[in-house]
């Protein structure tokens, strides 16, 4: 099983509008390939060329070295099955009827479906988990169920290659991963070559091991996730700035589209704000201040901290504590200087432990020097306190004039032009 597919110099234009321009790639037997690319990059068009719906203007597609054109319709359908984005099914065929249609390429005109065909239909329905729907009319199923039935039909076709064209675009997240899991299972157990056009890169990296990135009808990058899914490639093909990071649990690459630092558009006319500490809890604060046009500084944070990554991405001043060390005199001075350069200091709802308690000293110094200090969510501090002393220290700051805020969102009123800051 498994099919080797080669695409050479494929060209196709709709009404003189080129969609594919000299597309080349090879998919090996048993590959599990995600076809990525922006809308209009040519993903669907490419799949429709391979599934013989469209005829390319130039170039060739080879299956196992054999020209695709040479096959007749049934031969092609025995080699390749297709799961489209959506199937209109608004008539009373039962699920079993629909799956049985997958046997079409194996039956000659006067041949009836026999027990072998019925057995294959049964197994296909079991594998895709639609056996209980066998007698139901396809028109009464939900989108997710319907797509699984279509998958069952594809399995029933016993193909060597499975082409999926945005198969998950209309499904909820549960059905999305269920469907792709089915495709990977076919690939793993029966060595079926899988090519899937997928919009959701973050979903694709969980299930596929090879990626082809199309842009403007050409292959921009192909290979493993690390080689294909880079901020640079994403920016060039999708036209948006993006960052990549490792999934915290699975370690696979993930993409996030961000409003990057854009010097022309940014209006850094808000107040200067120093945000204490980092960690995931500080990120919403940083994002909010950034959107409000504040000049931000961050610290102290460790180098792997998400607050630190934020600071680097936006080229912000930051105090970095080297791993496994504590704040020395020079770093403390640096931290104090950042606070002095700011108009106000924010203590986000971060966790407190013995390690970061010393930074209260610097905050207190800043407060003494007349810097406004805002503490967010004092009430919730107990749950984040691993030292047992933070509540007490925070309340000490409040006594000295620090202002308590209930929620991060309240900061917006303080830092926006004409907000609380000028009034004080």
């Amino acid at each position: 099983m498994g099919l080797n597919i080669e695409v050479h110099g494929l060209k196709l234009a709709y009404d003189a509008q080129p969609v594919l321009e000299d597309t080349n790639f090879t998919v090996d037997r048993g590959d599990l390939v995600a076809l990525l690319g922006a809308n209009g990059a040519g993903k669907s068009t490419l799949l429709r060329c391979i599934s013989r719906i469209l005829k390319p203007n130039a170039g060739s597609i080879l299956l196992e070295g054999q020209e695709l054109d040479r096959l007749n319709s049934k031969e092609a359908a025995r080699k390749m099955a297709v799961v489209p984005q959506e199937t209109t099914a608004d008539f009373d065929f039962t699920v079993e009827d629909i799956v049985m249609m997958g046997r079409f390429p194996y039956l000659s005109r006067f041949q009836k479906e026999d027990s072998k065909d019925r057995e294959i239909v049964k197994r296909s329905m079991e594998m895709t988990g639609v056996s209980h729907l066998a007698e139901r009319s396809i028109a009464t199923l939900s989108g997710g169920e319907k797509q699984r039935v279509i998958m069952a039909r594809a399995v029933c076709q016993q193909p060597e290659a499975l082409l999926l064209d945005e198969p998950t675009a209309n499904l909820d997240i549960g059905y999305q991963s269920m469907l792709l899991e089915l495709a990977t299972r076919l690939n793993r157990e029966q060595k079926v070559t899988v090519i899937a056009a997928i919009h959701d890169i973050n979903l694709a990296v969980h299930h596929f091991n090879r990626f082809i990135l199309l842009s403007g009808g050409r292959v921009m990058a192909a290979g493993r996730a690390e080689a294909v899914i880079t901020p640079e490639n994403i920016r060039k093909s999708y036209g948006v700035p993006a960052t990549t990071y490792r999934h915290p649990l699975h370690g696979v690459l993930q993409v996030s589209v961000v409003r990057g630092p854009n010097p022309e558009e940014s209006h850094n006319d808000g107040p200067a704000v120093h945000v204490i500490g980092g960690g995931e809890e500080a990120l919403p604060v940083l994002e909010l201040l950034s959107q409000q046009g504040c000049r931000i500084s961050v610290g102290p944070v460790s180098a792997q901290d998400s607050g630190c990554r934020f600071a680097h991405f936006h080229s912000l001043p930051v105090v970095i504590v080297p791993p496994f060390t504590s704040m020395n005199g020079a770093l403390k001075e640096e931290h104090l200087q950042l606070m002095r350069d700011s108009d106000l200091v924010v203590v986000p709802p971060i966790p407190f432990g013995e390690g970061n308690l010393p930074l209260f000293e610097e905050v207190e110094t800043a407060l003494d020097e007349g810097k406004p200090v805002y503490i967010i969510d004092l009430e919730g501090a107990d749950q984040r306190d691993y030292s047992g002393k933070a509540r007490q220290m925070l309340e000490g700051l409040v006594k000295k004039g620090a202002i308590v805020m209930e929620a991060i969102e309240d900061l917006a009123a303080v830092v926006c032009p004409g907000g609380g800051l000028e009034n004080e």
Binding site: I53, S73, V82
Partner: protein, 341 residues
């Protein structure tokens, strides 16, 4: 299916019994059996020879013709509805009827006395007009190598409208032949002859065999052309064959009986509502039910104001439409075709 066969025979026998001259049911059977080349002689049956003539020379060919026309229309309707995935499609949807009408009206008005193989000019021109129209529509709908069904449908509607306008124009100037033209367009089986049966039945059979061989493909086409193609259906070829087959059916029907509406639209829906969309059942069942329906309605058309008769097209619509609405109400929803779940 067996029930439908019985129904067909019952309506056929009934049709031969009823009429301006009533022939008893037993006598009908006797005449029919004696006419078979089995040398069966029923002693003691006193049947007036005139009855025998009425039955064998007038009613029997008419019943057979009604069966052939009715099943042709119903099968063609089922094929077009499936091919276009459109419940509104009927045998005339892509203009065969208006093409045939134009041919027929032209023949009537010009008064050609052409006769080929025992046929007058009207059926010949009607047949030619229908077939020419479908070829025209097909070539107009061609986009590159493919003929998308939606384009085909739209081209058919446009051509149909254009030809209908021409027919209206000709009708307007029809003068004393107006009655003849209007009567033809309403459709009817009056004056059916054995000769017509002998010509019509092979066409109907050929068309039927042609489309029914592709029932499985037609099922796949219901899921959309692309899906059918993914399943291994050579869609362009299948479309061509199905179009050719059903056009043959319709052209043959129209040229023998004029434009009989409603049978081709309603019968396939009727069968689908009861038995689902599988064309392997739908096509033969539609053929049987279509034949039955036309025999029954034609009988009514003959007896309702006997000895004169109504155009059968009026009866099919008068009876078929309320029956169809009743079925729709009963089933609440057209679950196949865009009815959703």
């Amino acid at each position: 299916m067996a029930g439908l066969v019985v129904l067909l025979f019952a309506s056929a026998i009934n049709a031969m019994v009823l009429g301006a001259v009533s022939i008893g049911g037993r006598n009908v059977l006797v005449i029919l059996l004696e006419a078979l080349p089995l040398a069966l002689i029923f002693e003691g049956a006193e049947i007036p020879p005139v009855h025998e003539d009425i039955l064998l020379q007038i009613r029997l060919p008419r019943v057979l013709l009604a069966a052939a026309v009715g099943s042709s229309l119903a099968v063609a309707g089922a094929v077009f509805q499936g091919l276009f995935r459109n419940p509104m499609a009927d045998p005339y949807v892509i203009g065969i009827s208006s093409g045939a009408a134009l041919g027929a009206v032209f023949a009537m008005l010009s008064g050609f006395s052409l006769a080929v193989g025992g046929f007058g000019a009207v059926p010949l021109f009607a047949f030619g007009g229908g077939i020419t129209t479908i070829m025209l529509v097909y070539s107009m709908a061609r986009v590159g190598r493919a003929v998308p069904v939606m384009t085909l449908l739209l081209a058919g509607i446009a051509v149909s409208a254009f030809l209908s306008a021409l027919v209206s124009l000709l009708t307007y100037f029809a003068g004393e032949k107006l009655h003849m033209v209007v009567f033809w367009m309403m459709g009817g089986l009056g004056g059916a002859t054995w000769h017509q049966v002998r010509v019509m039945v092979p066409y109907a059979l050929a068309g039927y065999i042609c489309v029914s061989l592709f029932s499985r493909e037609l099922n796949a086409m219901l899921l959309g052309e692309e899906t059918a193609s993914h399943l291994g259906v050579n869609t362009e070829l299948v479309k061509k064959i199905l179009l050719a087959g059903s056009s043959l059916l319709v052209a043959a029907a129209v040229s023998t009986s004029g434009i009989i509406g409603f049978v081709g639209l309603v019968v396939p829906h009727f069968v689908r509502l009861v038995a689902g969309p599988d064309h392997r059942f739908l096509l033969p069942a539609s053929a049987l039910l279509g034949g039955t329906l036309l025999i029954a309605t034609d009988t009514l058309a003959r007896v309702i104001i006997a000895p004169s008769e109504l155009p059968v097209g009026i009866i099919t619509a008068l009876i078929g439409a309320p029956m169809f609405v009743y079925l729709l109400k009963k089933r609440k929803k057209l679950r196949y075709f865009g009815g959703g779940g």
